[in-house]
Symmetry: C2
Subunit: 371 residues, 2 copies
């Protein structure tokens, strides 16, 4: 499965795998794909350094990349000064805090033990945190730097290019893709409506060729709805130079969701069991539908706050829900392909099924085309 | 482009084209596809008869089909008696009528001339109307009968099969597709989120293989997001036995939208310019986003009524908006591929571009697969 882009990056298959888990990222690269470690979970640069060390030691010299989150719109006080997390916390209305407290109480979610900080932090969404991650990342021979929100700042693109790193950015529309191209990025990840995490309204079937046309000759990776080899073949038929996968790796044996119940929920979910909700970050992100997302959609509630306020507001709550595995509220970002994630398998097992399914799909369309 | 289904129906290409326009349906069949005439616009059986006569005379003996709309849930009074249009009209709250009146007044939409009935009627959505259409249709050698809402009643399926007519039904989820299969239909049209008209939440990239797996060995047609040969190749890679297209024919020279301004709006729209709204029928249907759809989404408004009340409520308003071509309010059901409908072309021109694009996409995936 070779495209210009996969050749340029030196990978066997044009399958990019985004994951928050170092063991999964490394295994994807070892299997012949391109593993991309998501950095949003890391608040301390040293933690990221430790995990990049691990990935580097376990990829057998195969290429890998890093995904950071730098919001296009910064939260700034008047006069452009940088805001601390505490400044941003202070912007959260008391009514919203009370709604979080009451929703957790209704479901009997225990408090975190005295002195235990929230493990799930949203600070990775803030530019200053992303920049400290980049200071670490540029010490590693990463081949790709992706930004999940907006175009990266010009100086970051320059710095990446100086290190021979390709820069990718996620786009939800042709207009958005063109903006990235104008900013000087190298790869557009066209993130369809069906994708897990932040998505726009346009489905991959329409968005992929839209983005390809909008930024040609820049390469486009199709994201959203890609969990089988047939879907890879479809994305490549639409003009993509590869696929950007994410959800499919969440239920691999190498993944560590820290919750057996969450893994079971993912394995049981159908493609109708996700929702595009602002509950987690303040921007629409597809995730498992739970009583937590329902509460934020309830017209009787206060509704969500804009990014990054919503993320800060719910960070501790999400930690508590995860720690105590409160089933009704337990969720995670995941795409509509969750319906096909029905068994735990190794990364290698999933990867091999992707490439086999791709070959089957090519056989199929060739038969139909009479070739 | 030959699948088992296209062979069974005797068409050259597995491209099904749904259209309210007899001239378009006939031209699709003549071009080597399968034209399907939408019957929802017809209130008088004689009008349908006249247009089916025309289609039959203009298909050069090629096969064609008919699409009717029989809602899965009937509006019934207590005791199961059949309701007339007047009975249903009486269920509409006065506040909703006032909202329609005020919205039209705000945009200066003139009244219809004295004695001119609303041309756009919603009665085609009611089962008794659909049944009178079927009485006409069974006199023609149609090869396919599609139902746009739910499974057709058992007696209709039986009657179709007695006439050697295949029965198709639209589905928005695997569960929905299985229900149709259990009801005895022959073909599932998997209608993705990106489609024009009534759609569910699941995008074609995920829904198509979901439906294929759910009803195998029954054939699935992919609908939603199909407006190019590349998208056809993608749908077939996903396991579909053909594609069900609709929007793409709206801006052909054979189409008659009765409004130059509407055609211009469609040609100018991008894939971001549609919305899935209940404004037209009471069920979520994708259409051009307009100030009319915005008004129904406005939390300050009364919101929409359930099907078929909403359709009856807005029927006259839609006629007035169309007759006077009130630009801000003028819309039509259309899918996200409206972004690629940028020039008026003949049905034959569009069709040939679909088959050429399909061949290009097959070339492309074969190159990537190293074949």
């Amino acid at each position: 499965m070779q495209t210009e882009l996969s050749k340029r990056l030196g990978v066997e298959h044009a399958i990019f795998g985004f994951t928050p888990f170092p063991a999964v990222a490394a295994a994807i690269s070892r299997a012949g794909g391109f593993g991309v470690l998501g950095a949003v979970r890391y608040t301390a640069p040293d933690d990221l350094k430790r995990d990049l060390d691990w990935v580097h030691a376990h990829t057998d010299g195969k290429p890998y990349g890093l995904d950071v989150v730098m919001p296009a719109q910064k939260v700034e006080a008047k006069g452009n000064q940088t805001l601390s997390e505490a400044d941003v916390e202070a912007m959260i209305p008391a009514g919203h805090r009370e709604f979080v407290r009451a929703t957790l109480a209704k479901h009997g979610v225990p408090e975190l033990p005295e002195g235990e900080a929230s493990g799930w932090r949203i600070t990775g969404w803030m530019e200053q945190v992303a920049r400290s991650q980049l200071d670490v990342a540029f010490d590693y021979p990463i081949k790709l730097l992706a930004n999940a929100l907006g175009s990266p700042p010009a100086d970051v693109i320059e710095r990446a290019h100086a290190h021979d790193i390709l820069v990718a950015a996620l786009a939800g529309s042709a207009r958005h893709a063109r903006k990235h191209a104008d900013a000087g990025i190298d790869i557009v990840v066209a993130q369809g409506y069906e994708a897990g995490g932040h998505t726009g309204e346009i489905a991959s079937m329409v968005l992929t060729p839209d983005a390809v046309e909008a930024v040609a000759p820049l390469p486009v990776l199709a994201a959203g709805g890609i969990g089988s080899g047939e879907q890879i073949a479809a994305a490549l038929a639409l003009g993509a130079q590869g696929v950007w996968t994410g959800s499919i790796w969440l239920t691999t044996t190498e993944a560590d969701l820290h919750s057996r119940k969450l893994t079971e929920k993912l394995l049981a979910a159908t493609s109708s069991d996700t929702v595009r909700s602002r509950a987690l970050t303040g921007k629409p992100a597809r995730q498992l539908r739970t009583e937590w997302t329902d509460a934020w959609e309830d017209p009787a509630g206060p509704g969500t706050l804009p990014m990054p306020l919503q993320g800060l507001l719910v960070a501790e709550a999400v930690s508590r829900i995860q720690k105590y595995e409160v089933e009704a509220l337990l969720g995670t970002p995941v795409g509509q392909i969750v319906g096909r994630m029905n068994a735990e398998r190794s990364v290698r097992g999933v990867f091999d099924e992707l490439t086999r399914g791709f070959e089957r799909a090519i056989d199929r369309v060739n038969r139909i085309a009479g070739r």
